[in-house]
Amino acid sequence: MDRSNKQIQFSWGKRRAKGGLKMDIRFYESFTLDNVKYSLYDCVYLFKHGDPEPYIGKIVKIWEQNQAKKVKILWFFLPDEIQKYLRGSVMEKEIFLASGDGIGLADINPLEAVAGKCTVICISKDERNRQPSPREQAMADYIFYRFFNVENCTLSDQLPDKIAGLEVKVLLNPKDELVISSPNTVNVPLNPNADDGLAATAPPPHSAVKEENESPDAAVPLSHPAAKEVDAKLPAAVALSQSVVNKDQKPVAAIPISESVIKKEDKKSVAAISLSQSAVKEEEKSVAAISLSQSAVKEEEKPVASTPHPRSAVVENNAKHTQSQNVHDGERPPKKLKLSQEATLKNMTPAVTETRPFELPSRQAERSKWFTFTWDDKVRRADEQGTLVYIQNLDIHFAAADIEELIDKALQLSCTAKPINHPTYDDPNNGKAYAIFKTKNDADVAISKINSGLVVGGRPLYCSKGLLKVPKSSGTFVGHLNLYNIKIGQKQREEQKKAVSTSHCSQPNTIEYDLALDWMLLRAKQEKKFQILHKRHKDDRKGFASIGSKGSKAGK
């Protein structure tokens, strides 16, 4: 799982004692990862590969042993994860701290799994807890005052004395008011109906899931509106922009089946909490759950339908899935598929995802850097893996979904594709696209088949493997002239620098204007040339098509 192409910055903070049997473990109080400082008892997000949503936890131990950096994370639960055991209402932004002993309390993770900080304020009225100011509470990402005991699966608002061997006091609000930076608050569009929102969220995803079962074809559009609703109603606990950020990742999608299959496999193999041995037991159970619901669905093609099922089993007593439900009965809900699974429904927009226009705040950007792959990244990776195919001579009006559908129908192969014509230069008669297949073999098969004779709407397609060699755009721009050898003062140099990045209208009385006119003349000529050439191409093709049809008629 390659997260990044470059090294992520890391440095240790304050040291603590040494420990371990062989005294080869060094404990720390803090560390800096990717330019963010994390200290003991900070609340953090952790991403697991394959999951669209992050987990929230508190760092309770930091150490390094044998070159491996680890953190021990005490988990928070989102309301949806423990919905079965919840009684009464849930506050806005509320999460629950794990307590007791057993599986699901805490886990050891590699330090690099930490994906960002968040603010969690404790609002318990217990005297040991420093009461937060209203501003703190409003600005915090999450709040908690209740504890979920993992041993007997009960909720309580009484502070236990110790959790995970630590005095509970250190887990509560720190002495100083938390410095809450605004980027964190951006990510949660607070759900006004948090209280009934929770109940309400259950039905839409449920209905989405149900309908998926019944009509796989209709599943796509249906889930889309359902997903849209979910979008609106997701409880604030789920960092919405997280899932949005991961939209690009396309974890599970209905139409691009290849993606979803890959992701599902990820889920299967990494189904348990994270990377600790205690999770192994659950891994089997969750695999069992998934495969059970799979058999219930009987549709290999629509894994999305199957993955929410264990979720819905946890969420409500879905009679259809009693099998998977039984698996989860009487067991703390495994920390794998959350309501945010529904977020994957949301991500079921076909590969044609619109890019979200808002600027991600820097924290989000950190996370997104690691965990989302833009189309461009995907293309590069696919090229390395040999799964990238360059298809030409398509109709330029085809959209991504059209191409994928076409490949699916014609070759029974699934892929993600995008049309890639450059609006200025490419010949509009010849539409081009990149398609990423699941395996190298698929790609090879596709190439040979398409080249051997696939004709779409009268256009014979042709394709080849791999990425076109496109030179990286150099920093300089042809036509940007530099004044030679002018000794400019410092201030003026700054202005000149700025001049490149600002814009101004030019008046007819400058030298620039004349030069600009030259360029405009050249450009006008160029456009004409393109027009002529492309028109000629078009006519040639038409001519051919008619010859072709005549020929075939004659042949018959």
Partner: protein
């Protein structure tokens, strides 16, 4: 199935709305970034989104281009007009940018156009049409290379022009410098004296 068709058409209708509000700016310097475009267009339009076109197909160093989404169609029209009237030199150097209305096929992430025919056929050797199709394929390839050749040609022309302009500019610069130098170090007085020309003219 109806819903999916309706859905698709509404999606496409929305997309078409977006297309109308979007303009396509070309011939941008690679140094131009989103804030620059926003600032440039601030006079006449509010920029909602800027998406730079990634070059996947042209194996040459081409200028940047971007799809800029504005608030509405009116603004789009105003922006295009602004850029055509004034060689709106985004970048402070002589090469002007070009702005046109966007077209649906410029967007990489477009929703499928409902009603687009996607029928396909398999044609094998021995079919009557095979030869024709083969010729058509070759024609397409030929056209492609013609296109590329044209592009290369055009880019070379641009380089030529740039070189020309740079030389002219350099020449002018030198001339002015020389003049200035002559003025400043008094040579001109001697020259004037020599030629009998009065300096005050």
């Amino acid at each position: 199935m109806e819903t999916s068709k309706e859905q698709a058409s509404t999606k496409y209708a929305d997309f078409e709305e977006k297309v109308k509000k979007t303009i396509y700016i070309d011939q941008l310097s690679p140094q131009v970034t989103t804030p620059v475009i926003k600032a440039a267009l601030a006079q006449c339009a509010n920029v909602v989104n800027v998406e730079f076109i990634v070059n996947y197909t042209i194996p040459y160093d081409i200028p940047s281009a971007a799809l800029v989404e504005l608030d509405d169609e009116v603004q789009a029209k105003a922006a295009v007009e602004l850029m055509t009237d004034f060689p709106f030199i985004i970048g402070g150097m002589p090469r002007p940018v070009k702005a046109t209305y966007a077209k649906a096929e410029m967007f990489r992430d477009r929703p499928p156009c409902p009603g687009l025919k996607k029928d396909f056929r398999w044609i094998k050797q021995g079919d009557g049409e095979y030869e024709t199709m083969k010729k058509l394929k070759n024609l397409a390839k030929k056209q492609e290379s013609e296109n590329m050749a044209l592009i290369k040609n055009l880019l070379d022309e641009e380089k030529e022009l740039a070189k020309q302009q740079q030389e002219a500019l350099d020449g002018n610069g030198k001339k002015y410098e020389m003049l200035e130098a002559v003025m400043s170090n008094g040579t001109i007085r001697k020259l004037a004296h020599h030629y009998g020309v009065s300096l005050d003219d």
